[in-house]
């Protein structure tokens, strides 16, 4: 038994190491892919323009790709665990569209990156609250309820967004709202990301610390309660923290589909469990997906494409596959 335990641990460590290597490779590629060609030699020689492009555009973009993907992977893992549904992910239960509607509200009525972030967080929080409220109306313990509630929340957020768009100034605000919704890592500059990334990293650390509690919440409420968990309080704390993670990313990148669904499932498929290591691997896979999608988004066509095109191209068939394979658990 000890041997089998060790071999499982070794296997999972190998997956983690391979994941980290791919992630670092993609991160480095991300630094040097783009319209303006950068060369390491010139940067090292002290070429001012090269250094400026590297520091203000590329580095921040690659960092957001890495941390954003990681964060979406982790939040997907947490949502799936505490909502007890393999389909739960920030974009599927309506959190991301709530964040989008919030951000559009911020673009329309306030100015500055911070207010957009705050409004986006507010939108995400309202969406989670509504998803929980709608699903609590169904007294049965059906696992599909939260997904159906999420679809309702998503539609509501879209309606709100449409209203905001009709109110927007077509010259300036509408364009920024549309651009924001399409989701892109383009235009992220180093001045605005620090606050979001610090918030995101702090919340991710809390989620890792609360991993054991998340697993306790993955069972029936009565069972968790009889194991000593203050279910409502703990679920509330974990949801707020993971929603904070999602909105700190989405408010920078706009809507990014499917990373939160794909990444944790891929990690679980590899390790076969829900340990903290698997959660971490889910984050790594999330980072890999987002960095790869972003590299493709800026290299396959003349103009830059929205990053969600690529995440959705992999994510949508995966979702269908998941529904067919795990019909009993959804």
């Amino acid at each position: 038994m000890r041997n089998s335990t060790n071999s499982v641990t070794t296997k999972n460590n190998i997956y983690l190491s391979i994941g980290v290597i791919i992630l670092i490779t993609l991160f480095c590629c991300s630094l040097f892919v783009g319209k303006y060609p950068l060369s390491l030699a010139k940067i090292l020689q002290g070429d001012e323009l090269q250094i400026k492009v590297f520091m203000t555009l590329r580095l921040s973009r690659a960092v957001v790709g890495l941390i954003g993907g990681f964060a979406l992977g982790i939040s997907g893992f947490i949502y799936q665990t505490i909502f007890r549904n393999p389909l739960a992910a920030p974009d599927i239960i309506g959190v991301s569209s709530g964040a989008s509607a919030g951000a559009a509200f911020g673009i329309l009525f306030f100015s500055g990156a911070l207010s957009v972030t705050l409004c986006s967080f507010g939108g995400a929080l309202v969406s989670v609250g509504l998803a929980i409220l709608f699903s609590s109306l169904d007294k049965t313990d059906r696992k599909s309820t939260v997904i159906l509630a999420g679809i309702a929340v998503h539609s509501l957020a879209q309606t709100f967004l449409m209203i905001l768009k009709t109110m927007a100034d077509p010259e300036k605000q509408l364009a920024s709202i549309e651009y924001w919704i399409m989701g892109s890592l383009n235009g992220i500059n180093s001045h605005i990301i620090a606050g979001n990334l610090i918030l995101c990293a702090a919340c991710l650390a809390v989620l890792f610390l609360l991993h054991r509690q998340s697993l306790l919440l993955s069972q029936d409420e009565a069972e968790a309660r009889m194991l000593g968990v203050d279910v409502s309080k703990m679920r509330f704390i974990i949801l707020i923290v993971s929603t904070l993670v999602v909105s700190s990313v989405v408010s920078l990148t706009g809507l990014i589909s499917f990373v939160g669904l794909l990444a944790p499932h891929s990690a679980r498929k590899l390790t076969g469990n829900n340990s903290a290591k698997t959660m971490f691997l889910g984050g790594i896979v999330g980072g890999i997906i987002l960095l790869a999608a972003d590299i493709l988004a800026r290299s396959v066509a003349q103009t830059e494409l929205p990053v969600s095109i690529f995440t959705s191209l992999i994510g949508a068939p995966f979702l269908v596959l998941l529904i067919f394979r795990r019909r009993d658990k959804i």
């Binding site: 665990t81 029936d220 069972e223 309660r225 009889m226 194991l227 968990v229 279910v231 829900n274």
Partner: protein, 265 residues
């Protein structure tokens, strides 16, 4: 010596009472079974005793009133085993059992080496030594229930509460679980309260049986002191025309068996 006092429990769903003023005691080392027809309030009773359902009346275990406790305090006093666990994530058997230590850990604390060793020993005790690293979801229903029992055992609750733990299990596992539970509560400051579907299992393993009908207790059978006739009379209050027969197996071990005397409907 009394371990738990259940006083005037009234509970139900949607303003309709399923139980009214139910009171009884549970003594140290005693296994108390709850019998009754479907809908007689057996599950409601154990849920109210575990404070999982809003109710009137109170439950005192040791010197603590369960209704006044926080969930982590309750978890250190009552170990609860549901009919079916709702766990449906890929998780190792060892990790499921380690969940039982939650009430002894701080929120951010992880189980230490000692807890790990105890969890392994308890997995061995329930006969699943080879499955400690297996995925819980790949186990049979019987094995899953044994894992949940192991988890309840490590949580060290004084009162072990089980809601029809045997309903989905085959013959051998039913007896295995009963024998494990009996061993655990003997000689310690512990007791068990079990809702049972299988009357034969209840008659041959419990110390006392609480009989529920029409929202209240219609009889209590003391299986060590009551005569067969008296037990038969009390059981017929909930099951109708029945007979109790004492019989012995090949090894000479005597068992009580309940036989239905009516044609049924």
């Amino acid at each position: 010596m009394s371990l738990a006092e259940i006083r005037n429990i009234t509970a139900g769903y949607d303003k309709e009472n399923v139980l009214e003023n139910v009171s009884f005691d549970i003594n140290c080392g005693e296994l108390v079974g709850v019998l009754g027809a479907n809908g007689s309030g057996k599950s409601t009773l154990v849920k109210a005793v575990s404070n999982l359902l809003p109710h009137n009346g109170n439950v005192v275990v040791g010197e603590k009133t369960i209704e006044n406790l926080k969930p982590y305090e309750t978890a250190g006093i009552i170990s609860y085993i549901p009919q079916h666990s709702g766990l449906n994530i890929d998780i190792s058997v060892l990790d499921v059992v380690l969940m039982g230590f939650n009430s002894k850990l701080k929120i951010l604390e992880n189980p230490g080496r000692e807890m790990l060793e105890r969890a392994k020993a308890t997995i061995e005790l329930v006969g699943l030594k080879d499955k400690a690293e297996s995925n819980y979801l790949t186990l049979s229903e019987g094995q899953k229930q044994l894992v949940i029992l192991a988890r309840a055992l490590v949580s060290d609750g004084k009162l072990l509460v089980m809601d029809e733990p045997e309903s989905a299990l085959d013959f051998n596992v039913r007896y295995k679980i009963m024998s494990l539970v009996k061993k655990q509560i003997q000689g310690e400051n512990r007791a068990g309260l079990l809702v049972l579907h299988d009357t034969t299992l209840a008659l041959n393993n419990c110390d006392r049986l609480i009989l529920l009908k029409d929202k209240k207790i219609v009889g209590i059978i003391d299986l060590h002191n009551d005569t067969i006739e008296s037990a038969e009379e009390k059981l017929s209050l909930i099951y109708g025309e029945i007979s109790l027969v004492k019989t012995a197996g090949k090894t000479g071990r005597e068992s009580l068996i309940m036989i239905c005397d009516s044609e049924g409907v």
